[in-house]
Protein backbone atom coordinates (compact mmCIF):
# COMPACT_ATOMS: atom_id res chain seq x y z
CA UNK A 1 0.00 0.00 0.00
CA UNK A 2 1.86 3.13 -1.12
CA UNK A 3 1.65 5.64 1.64
CA UNK A 4 0.10 8.97 0.67
CA UNK A 5 2.47 11.86 0.17
CA UNK A 6 3.03 13.74 3.44
CA UNK A 7 1.19 17.08 3.51
CA UNK A 8 3.36 20.07 2.63
CA UNK A 9 1.88 21.82 5.65
CA UNK A 10 3.16 19.21 8.11
CA UNK A 11 5.15 21.75 10.07
CA UNK A 12 2.07 23.90 10.43
CA UNK A 13 0.04 21.34 12.28
CA UNK A 14 0.43 19.97 15.80
CA UNK A 15 -0.25 16.33 14.89
CA UNK A 16 2.45 14.75 12.77
CA UNK A 17 0.69 11.55 11.67
CA UNK A 18 -0.09 12.73 8.18
CA UNK A 19 1.62 9.92 6.40
CA UNK A 20 -1.68 8.23 5.49
CA UNK A 21 -4.37 10.48 4.16
CA UNK A 22 -7.23 8.10 4.70
CA UNK A 23 -7.14 8.73 8.46
CA UNK A 24 -8.98 11.63 10.14
CA UNK A 25 -6.45 14.19 11.29
CA UNK A 26 -7.79 15.23 14.65
CA UNK A 27 -6.08 18.50 15.58
CA UNK A 28 -7.56 20.14 18.64
CA UNK A 29 -10.59 17.84 18.33
CA UNK A 30 -11.48 18.87 14.83
CA UNK A 31 -10.80 17.73 11.33
CA UNK A 32 -12.79 20.66 10.07
CA UNK A 33 -10.39 22.19 7.63
CA UNK A 34 -11.85 25.66 7.86
CA UNK A 35 -10.47 26.10 11.35
CA UNK A 36 -7.23 24.11 11.18
CA UNK A 37 -5.08 26.80 9.64
CA UNK A 38 -7.00 29.68 11.18
CA UNK A 39 -6.39 28.10 14.60
CA UNK A 40 -2.69 27.86 13.76
CA UNK A 41 -2.56 31.43 12.40
CA UNK A 42 -4.30 32.81 15.52
CA UNK A 43 -1.61 31.17 17.62
CA UNK A 44 0.97 33.02 15.53
CA UNK A 45 -0.78 36.28 16.50
CA UNK A 46 -1.71 37.32 12.91
CA UNK A 47 -5.48 37.34 12.21
CA UNK A 48 -5.07 35.48 8.91
CA UNK A 49 -1.58 36.46 7.93
CA UNK A 50 0.88 33.61 7.96
CA UNK A 51 4.48 34.09 6.81
CA UNK A 52 4.32 36.06 3.54
CA UNK A 53 0.89 34.65 2.69
CA UNK A 54 -2.64 34.69 4.09
CA UNK A 55 -5.03 31.96 5.11
CA UNK A 56 -8.41 31.78 3.35
CA UNK A 57 -11.29 29.32 3.34
CA UNK A 58 -11.74 27.99 -0.18
CA UNK A 59 -14.91 26.82 -1.94
CA UNK A 60 -14.80 25.00 -5.29
CA UNK A 61 -18.00 25.45 -7.32
CA UNK A 62 -19.20 25.21 -10.90
CA UNK A 63 -18.79 28.19 -13.17
CA UNK A 64 -20.35 28.94 -16.55
CA UNK A 65 -16.95 29.29 -18.29
CA UNK A 66 -15.80 26.00 -16.75
CA UNK A 67 -19.08 24.34 -17.87
CA UNK A 68 -18.68 25.55 -21.43
CA UNK A 69 -15.00 24.54 -21.48
CA UNK A 70 -15.89 20.99 -20.39
CA UNK A 71 -17.76 20.63 -23.66
CA UNK A 72 -15.01 22.30 -25.67
CA UNK A 73 -12.56 19.74 -24.31
CA UNK A 74 -10.69 19.13 -21.06
CA UNK A 75 -7.32 19.52 -22.74
CA UNK A 76 -8.30 22.77 -24.48
CA UNK A 77 -6.95 26.24 -23.77
CA UNK A 78 -10.47 27.35 -22.79
CA UNK A 79 -10.55 24.77 -19.99
CA UNK A 80 -7.07 25.80 -18.86
CA UNK A 81 -8.08 29.46 -18.65
CA UNK A 82 -11.39 28.70 -16.93
CA UNK A 83 -10.16 26.32 -14.25
CA UNK A 84 -6.60 27.28 -13.31
CA UNK A 85 -7.62 30.45 -11.47
CA UNK A 86 -8.47 31.41 -7.89
CA UNK A 87 -10.82 34.28 -7.10
CA UNK A 88 -9.82 36.37 -4.09
CA UNK A 89 -11.57 39.25 -2.36
CA UNK A 90 -10.12 42.72 -3.03
CA UNK A 91 -9.15 43.13 0.64
CA UNK A 92 -7.20 39.84 0.49
CA UNK A 93 -5.28 41.21 -2.48
CA UNK A 94 -4.31 44.21 -0.35
CA UNK A 95 -3.21 42.09 2.62
CA UNK A 96 -1.25 39.84 0.24
CA UNK A 97 0.28 42.91 -1.33
CA UNK A 98 -0.12 41.72 -4.92
CA UNK A 99 -2.32 43.04 -7.69
CA UNK A 100 -4.72 40.98 -9.75
CA UNK A 101 -3.78 38.41 -12.37
CA UNK A 102 -0.52 37.35 -10.67
CA UNK A 103 0.26 33.70 -9.96
CA UNK A 104 0.01 32.46 -6.39
CA UNK A 105 0.97 29.17 -4.71
CA UNK A 106 -2.08 27.66 -3.06
CA UNK A 107 -1.30 25.09 -0.35
CA UNK A 108 -3.87 23.11 1.61
CA UNK A 109 -3.64 20.16 3.99
CA UNK A 110 -3.90 17.93 0.89
CA UNK A 111 -1.51 19.41 -1.65
CA UNK A 112 -0.11 22.47 -3.35
CA UNK A 113 -0.73 24.01 -6.79
CA UNK A 114 0.08 27.25 -8.61
CA UNK A 115 -2.94 29.25 -9.81
CA UNK A 116 -3.61 32.71 -11.22
CA UNK A 117 -5.21 34.99 -8.61
CA UNK A 118 -7.99 37.04 -10.19
CA UNK A 119 -10.56 39.48 -8.83
CA UNK A 120 -13.80 38.09 -7.45
CA UNK A 121 -16.46 37.82 -10.18
CA UNK A 122 -19.15 36.80 -7.67
CA UNK A 123 -19.26 38.59 -4.29
CA UNK A 124 -16.78 36.97 -1.91
CA UNK A 125 -15.99 38.29 1.55
CA UNK A 126 -12.47 38.73 3.01
CA UNK A 127 -11.22 35.29 3.97
CA UNK A 128 -13.28 33.41 1.34
CA UNK A 129 -11.74 32.32 -1.97
CA UNK A 130 -13.21 30.42 -4.91
CA UNK A 131 -11.49 28.02 -7.31
CA UNK A 132 -13.67 26.76 -10.21
CA UNK A 133 -14.21 22.97 -9.97
CA UNK A 134 -11.63 21.06 -11.99
CA UNK A 135 -8.31 19.17 -11.88
CA UNK A 136 -6.34 22.14 -10.53
CA UNK A 137 -8.80 22.71 -7.72
CA UNK A 138 -8.87 19.01 -6.89
CA UNK A 139 -5.12 18.95 -6.28
CA UNK A 140 -5.77 20.91 -3.07
CA UNK A 141 -9.18 19.45 -2.13
CA UNK A 142 -8.74 17.21 0.96
CA UNK A 143 -10.13 13.70 0.34
CA UNK A 144 -11.41 13.20 3.92
CA UNK A 145 -15.15 12.44 3.60
CA UNK A 146 -16.33 12.26 7.25
CA UNK A 147 -17.47 8.74 6.16
CA UNK A 148 -20.24 10.14 3.94
CA UNK A 149 -18.50 9.69 0.58
CA UNK A 150 -18.37 13.42 -0.19
CA UNK A 151 -14.88 15.00 0.04
CA UNK A 152 -14.29 18.57 1.30
CA UNK A 153 -15.02 20.48 -1.92
CA UNK A 154 -16.38 23.52 -0.07
CA UNK A 155 -14.83 25.04 3.04
CA UNK A 156 -11.22 23.95 3.43
CA UNK A 157 -8.39 26.25 4.47
CA UNK A 158 -5.57 27.20 2.13
CA UNK A 159 -2.40 29.19 2.53
CA UNK A 160 -2.04 31.66 -0.38
CA UNK A 161 1.54 32.75 -1.04
CA UNK A 162 2.52 35.08 -3.88
CA UNK A 163 4.55 33.22 -6.57
CA UNK A 164 4.60 35.64 -9.53
CA UNK A 165 7.25 33.79 -11.46
CA UNK A 166 5.89 30.25 -10.93
CA UNK A 167 4.37 28.59 -14.03
CA UNK A 168 0.87 27.01 -14.08
CA UNK A 169 1.21 23.49 -15.43
CA UNK A 170 -1.28 21.85 -17.82
CA UNK A 171 -3.60 19.52 -15.90
CA UNK A 172 -2.48 16.33 -17.66
CA UNK A 173 1.21 17.13 -17.01
CA UNK A 174 0.49 18.06 -13.41
CA UNK A 175 -1.32 14.80 -12.76
CA UNK A 176 1.25 12.61 -14.47
CA UNK A 177 4.06 14.12 -12.43
CA UNK A 178 2.19 13.80 -9.16
CA UNK A 179 1.17 10.21 -9.94
CA UNK A 180 4.72 9.32 -11.03
CA UNK A 181 3.57 8.32 -14.51
CA UNK A 182 5.42 8.79 -17.79
CA UNK A 183 4.24 12.13 -19.31
CA UNK A 184 4.43 12.34 -23.10
CA UNK A 185 2.66 15.64 -23.71
CA UNK A 186 -0.96 16.68 -23.90
CA UNK A 187 -2.78 14.93 -26.74
CA UNK A 188 -4.07 17.16 -29.48
CA UNK A 189 -3.42 20.50 -27.94
CA UNK A 190 0.35 20.62 -27.62
Amino acid sequence: MTAGTPSPLVNLFEKEDFEDWSKPHLVGATTEYSSLLTLQAKKEGGERKYGNGIIVSVVTCTEIKQGVAIETGKTSQGYFDACSVIELDDEDFKTLGINKNTNVRVTSAAGTVVLKAIGARQGLYPGLAHIPMGPWANIVVPSYTYSTGEPCFCGFDCLIEPAPEAKIESAVKLMHEKCGLEYVGDPHYD
Binding site: P24, L26, G28, A29, T30, T31, E32, S35, Y146, S147
Partner: protein, 268 residues
Protein backbone atom coordinates in the same frame (compact mmCIF):
# COMPACT_ATOMS: atom_id res chain seq x y z
CA UNK B 1 -13.81 -19.26 29.58
CA UNK B 2 -11.96 -21.06 26.76
CA UNK B 3 -9.69 -18.80 24.72
CA UNK B 4 -9.02 -19.01 20.99
CA UNK B 5 -6.08 -16.99 19.78
CA UNK B 6 -6.02 -16.16 16.07
CA UNK B 7 -3.04 -14.45 14.51
CA UNK B 8 -2.98 -12.95 11.05
CA UNK B 9 -0.39 -14.72 8.85
CA UNK B 10 -0.12 -11.88 6.32
CA UNK B 11 -1.49 -8.37 5.77
CA UNK B 12 -4.51 -8.52 3.41
CA UNK B 13 -4.02 -6.71 0.08
CA UNK B 14 -7.50 -5.17 0.26
CA UNK B 15 -9.78 -5.67 3.27
CA UNK B 16 -10.84 -8.95 4.91
CA UNK B 17 -14.48 -9.38 5.91
CA UNK B 18 -14.35 -11.41 9.12
CA UNK B 19 -18.01 -11.81 10.10
CA UNK B 20 -17.09 -15.24 11.43
CA UNK B 21 -14.78 -13.86 14.11
CA UNK B 22 -17.39 -13.76 16.90
CA UNK B 23 -17.93 -16.01 19.95
CA UNK B 24 -21.33 -17.03 18.53
CA UNK B 25 -19.73 -18.44 15.35
CA UNK B 26 -16.78 -20.01 17.24
CA UNK B 27 -18.89 -21.60 20.02
CA UNK B 28 -18.63 -25.38 20.24
CA UNK B 29 -15.92 -25.64 17.58
CA UNK B 30 -12.36 -26.86 17.71
CA UNK B 31 -9.44 -25.30 15.84
CA UNK B 32 -10.08 -27.16 12.54
CA UNK B 33 -13.76 -26.29 12.50
CA UNK B 34 -12.91 -22.64 13.26
CA UNK B 35 -10.34 -22.69 10.46
CA UNK B 36 -13.12 -23.79 8.09
CA UNK B 37 -15.32 -20.78 8.87
CA UNK B 38 -15.75 -18.50 5.83
CA UNK B 39 -14.24 -15.06 5.29
CA UNK B 40 -13.81 -13.05 2.10
CA UNK B 41 -11.59 -10.44 0.48
CA UNK B 42 -13.75 -8.72 -2.14
CA UNK B 43 -15.35 -11.51 -4.17
CA UNK B 44 -12.57 -14.03 -3.39
CA UNK B 45 -13.97 -16.44 -0.79
CA UNK B 46 -11.49 -17.81 1.80
CA UNK B 47 -11.68 -19.75 5.05
CA UNK B 48 -10.27 -18.35 8.29
CA UNK B 49 -7.51 -20.93 8.13
CA UNK B 50 -6.11 -19.27 4.97
CA UNK B 51 -5.45 -16.04 6.83
CA UNK B 52 -5.14 -16.85 10.53
CA UNK B 53 -3.07 -19.16 12.70
CA UNK B 54 -5.70 -20.60 15.04
CA UNK B 55 -4.71 -21.82 18.52
CA UNK B 56 -7.00 -23.27 21.20
CA UNK B 57 -10.64 -24.34 21.03
CA UNK B 58 -13.83 -22.46 21.67
CA UNK B 59 -16.07 -22.98 24.70
CA UNK B 60 -19.35 -24.92 24.47
CA UNK B 61 -21.43 -21.76 24.25
CA UNK B 62 -20.71 -18.22 23.07
CA UNK B 63 -20.80 -17.01 26.69
CA UNK B 64 -17.73 -18.98 27.65
CA UNK B 65 -15.72 -18.31 24.49
CA UNK B 66 -12.98 -15.70 24.38
CA UNK B 67 -11.27 -14.73 21.15
CA UNK B 68 -7.94 -12.88 20.95
CA UNK B 69 -7.06 -11.39 17.56
CA UNK B 70 -3.40 -10.61 16.96
CA UNK B 71 -1.25 -9.75 13.96
CA UNK B 72 -0.12 -6.75 11.93
CA UNK B 73 -3.01 -6.62 9.47
CA UNK B 74 -5.91 -6.46 11.93
CA UNK B 75 -6.52 -2.88 10.79
CA UNK B 76 -7.66 -4.39 7.48
CA UNK B 77 -10.24 -6.72 9.05
CA UNK B 78 -13.86 -5.62 9.03
CA UNK B 79 -16.91 -6.89 10.94
CA UNK B 80 -14.87 -8.29 13.89
CA UNK B 81 -17.35 -9.12 16.66
CA UNK B 82 -20.33 -8.05 14.54
CA UNK B 83 -23.69 -9.43 15.71
CA UNK B 84 -22.00 -11.05 18.79
CA UNK B 85 -24.42 -11.84 21.62
CA UNK B 86 -22.06 -13.08 24.39
CA UNK B 87 -18.48 -14.04 25.22
CA UNK B 88 -15.42 -11.83 24.80
CA UNK B 89 -13.28 -10.60 21.92
CA UNK B 90 -9.96 -8.79 22.32
CA UNK B 91 -8.26 -7.20 19.31
CA UNK B 92 -4.62 -6.38 19.93
CA UNK B 93 -4.26 -3.55 17.45
CA UNK B 94 -6.49 -1.43 15.24
CA UNK B 95 -9.72 -2.92 13.90
CA UNK B 96 -11.37 -1.65 10.70
CA UNK B 97 -15.01 -0.79 10.05
CA UNK B 98 -18.14 -2.44 11.50
CA UNK B 99 -16.30 -3.72 14.59
CA UNK B 100 -18.98 -4.86 17.04
CA UNK B 101 -21.76 -3.69 14.70
CA UNK B 102 -25.26 -4.90 15.73
CA UNK B 103 -23.63 -6.23 18.93
CA UNK B 104 -26.13 -7.58 21.46
CA UNK B 105 -23.97 -8.68 24.39
CA UNK B 106 -20.60 -9.82 25.59
CA UNK B 107 -17.41 -7.78 25.91
CA UNK B 108 -15.39 -6.42 23.02
CA UNK B 109 -12.04 -4.75 23.66
CA UNK B 110 -9.91 -3.12 20.97
CA UNK B 111 -6.44 -2.07 22.03
CA UNK B 112 -5.84 0.20 19.02
CA UNK B 113 -8.17 2.45 16.98
CA UNK B 114 -11.56 1.48 15.64
CA UNK B 115 -12.63 2.76 12.23
CA UNK B 116 -16.03 4.05 11.10
CA UNK B 117 -19.44 2.44 11.65
CA UNK B 118 -18.35 0.51 14.76
CA UNK B 119 -20.98 -0.56 17.31
CA UNK B 120 -23.70 0.24 14.76
CA UNK B 121 -27.21 -0.11 16.27
CA UNK B 122 -25.68 -1.74 19.37
CA UNK B 123 -28.29 -3.49 21.57
CA UNK B 124 -26.16 -4.42 24.58
CA UNK B 125 -22.82 -5.58 25.89
CA UNK B 126 -19.63 -3.67 26.62
CA UNK B 127 -17.25 -2.19 24.05
CA UNK B 128 -13.92 -0.72 25.12
CA UNK B 129 -11.74 1.14 22.63
CA UNK B 130 -8.35 2.16 23.91
CA UNK B 131 -7.32 4.16 20.87
CA UNK B 132 -9.41 6.51 18.74
CA UNK B 133 -12.78 5.78 17.21
CA UNK B 134 -13.63 7.13 13.79
CA UNK B 135 -16.98 8.37 12.52
CA UNK B 136 -20.50 7.02 13.03
CA UNK B 137 -19.63 5.25 16.30
CA UNK B 138 -22.79 3.61 17.70
CA UNK B 139 -24.87 5.33 14.99
CA UNK B 140 -27.93 3.95 13.17
CA UNK B 141 -27.64 2.16 9.81
CA UNK B 142 -28.36 4.47 6.86
CA UNK B 143 -32.05 5.27 6.69
CA UNK B 144 -32.93 3.49 9.95
CA UNK B 145 -34.47 5.63 12.72
CA UNK B 146 -33.48 3.10 15.40
CA UNK B 147 -29.94 3.81 16.60
CA UNK B 148 -28.07 2.37 19.57
CA UNK B 149 -30.50 0.70 21.99
CA UNK B 150 -28.31 -0.27 24.99
CA UNK B 151 -24.90 -1.34 26.21
CA UNK B 152 -21.86 0.76 27.15
CA UNK B 153 -19.00 2.03 25.04
CA UNK B 154 -15.86 3.56 26.47
CA UNK B 155 -13.36 5.28 24.15
CA UNK B 156 -10.07 6.35 25.64
CA UNK B 157 -8.96 8.46 22.66
CA UNK B 158 -10.75 10.94 20.36
CA UNK B 159 -13.94 10.22 18.44
CA UNK B 160 -14.75 11.19 14.86
CA UNK B 161 -17.96 12.83 13.59
CA UNK B 162 -21.58 11.59 13.84
CA UNK B 163 -21.24 9.96 17.28
CA UNK B 164 -24.44 8.14 18.30
CA UNK B 165 -26.83 9.40 15.58
CA UNK B 166 -30.49 8.34 16.19
CA UNK B 167 -29.43 7.00 19.64
CA UNK B 168 -32.27 5.46 21.70
CA UNK B 169 -30.47 4.10 24.79
CA UNK B 170 -27.19 2.91 26.29
CA UNK B 171 -24.14 4.93 27.32
CA UNK B 172 -21.11 6.19 25.44
CA UNK B 173 -18.14 7.59 27.39
CA UNK B 174 -15.39 9.37 25.41
CA UNK B 175 -12.28 10.36 27.30
CA UNK B 176 -10.85 12.43 24.42
CA UNK B 177 -12.44 14.99 22.07
CA UNK B 178 -15.30 14.61 19.56
CA UNK B 179 -15.61 15.96 16.05
CA UNK B 180 -18.76 17.59 14.59
CA UNK B 181 -22.28 16.12 15.03
CA UNK B 182 -22.65 14.47 18.44
CA UNK B 183 -25.98 12.81 19.23
CA UNK B 184 -27.74 14.08 16.10
CA UNK B 185 -31.43 13.01 16.09
CA UNK B 186 -30.85 11.35 19.53
CA UNK B 187 -34.03 10.02 21.15
CA UNK B 188 -32.51 8.71 24.40
CA UNK B 189 -29.32 7.32 25.89
CA UNK B 190 -26.35 9.15 27.46
CA UNK B 191 -23.20 10.49 25.82
CA UNK B 192 -20.35 11.68 28.02
CA UNK B 193 -17.42 13.48 26.39
CA UNK B 194 -14.58 14.31 28.76
CA UNK B 195 -12.74 16.44 26.18
CA UNK B 196 -14.11 19.06 23.77
CA UNK B 197 -16.82 18.66 21.11
CA UNK B 198 -16.18 20.84 18.09
CA UNK B 199 -19.60 21.87 16.72
CA UNK B 200 -23.20 20.78 16.17
CA UNK B 201 -23.69 18.92 19.44
CA UNK B 202 -27.22 17.62 19.95
CA UNK B 203 -28.53 18.81 16.55
CA UNK B 204 -32.24 17.84 16.04
CA UNK B 205 -32.16 16.06 19.41
CA UNK B 206 -35.53 14.88 20.80
CA UNK B 207 -34.54 13.24 24.11
CA UNK B 208 -31.40 12.02 25.90
CA UNK B 209 -28.40 13.42 27.77
CA UNK B 210 -25.11 14.73 26.39
CA UNK B 211 -22.31 15.81 28.75
CA UNK B 212 -19.44 17.78 27.18
CA UNK B 213 -16.86 18.62 29.85
CA UNK B 214 -14.71 20.73 27.53
CA UNK B 215 -17.67 22.60 26.00
CA UNK B 216 -18.37 23.22 22.30
CA UNK B 217 -16.70 25.69 19.95
CA UNK B 218 -20.10 26.68 18.50
CA UNK B 219 -23.40 25.99 20.32
CA UNK B 220 -26.54 25.03 18.40
CA UNK B 221 -28.99 27.98 18.31
CA UNK B 222 -31.77 25.57 19.29
CA UNK B 223 -30.37 25.05 22.80
CA UNK B 224 -31.38 27.27 25.72
CA UNK B 225 -29.58 27.44 29.07
CA UNK B 226 -32.00 26.90 31.96
CA UNK B 227 -29.87 26.43 35.07
CA UNK B 228 -26.56 25.37 36.63
CA UNK B 229 -26.60 22.17 38.65
CA UNK B 230 -24.11 19.83 40.28
CA UNK B 231 -24.33 16.36 38.86
CA UNK B 232 -22.34 13.17 39.45
CA UNK B 233 -21.19 11.83 36.09
CA UNK B 234 -19.08 8.68 35.54
CA UNK B 235 -17.81 8.88 39.08
CA UNK B 236 -16.97 12.59 39.02
CA UNK B 237 -19.00 15.38 40.63
CA UNK B 238 -19.07 18.70 38.75
CA UNK B 239 -21.23 21.76 38.36
CA UNK B 240 -22.74 21.88 34.89
CA UNK B 241 -24.53 24.50 32.81
CA UNK B 242 -27.76 22.76 31.77
CA UNK B 243 -29.17 23.43 28.32
CA UNK B 244 -32.45 22.05 26.93
CA UNK B 245 -33.05 21.46 23.24
CA UNK B 246 -33.19 21.05 20.35
CA UNK B 247 -36.01 23.61 20.40
CA UNK B 248 -36.20 23.43 16.62
CA UNK B 249 -37.22 19.77 16.78
CA UNK B 250 -40.59 18.19 17.57
CA UNK B 251 -40.80 17.11 21.24
CA UNK B 252 -43.22 14.52 22.62
CA UNK B 253 -45.21 15.06 25.80
CA UNK B 254 -45.13 12.49 28.60
CA UNK B 255 -47.27 12.78 31.70
CA UNK B 256 -48.32 16.26 30.68
CA UNK B 257 -45.01 18.00 30.21
CA UNK B 258 -42.80 18.32 27.20
CA UNK B 259 -39.72 16.10 27.06
CA UNK B 260 -36.48 17.80 25.98
CA UNK B 261 -32.94 16.60 25.30
CA UNK B 262 -30.35 17.87 27.79
CA UNK B 263 -26.86 19.20 27.09
CA UNK B 264 -24.47 19.78 30.00
CA UNK B 265 -21.18 21.70 29.79
CA UNK B 266 -18.77 22.23 32.68
CA UNK B 267 -19.33 25.51 34.48
CA UNK B 268 -15.71 26.77 34.82
Amino acid sequence: MDTVTITLKKVPGLYLECESVTPDKFAGKNAEEIAALPCAEGKRNYVLGDWFEIAGAAGATAADTKIVVNGAGTDKCKYIGAWMTAGEVVVNGTADMFTGAWMEGGKLTVKGDVRSFSALQMKGGEFIIEGRAWNYLAAAYRGDWRGMQGGTIRVKGDVGSDLGTFMNGGTIIVEGNADIHVGTHAEGGTIIIKGKAHRRVGGQMVKGEIYVFGGCDVMMPGFKKIEEREIEVDGEKHVFNVFIGDLGERHPKSKGEVVYGHLYTLKE
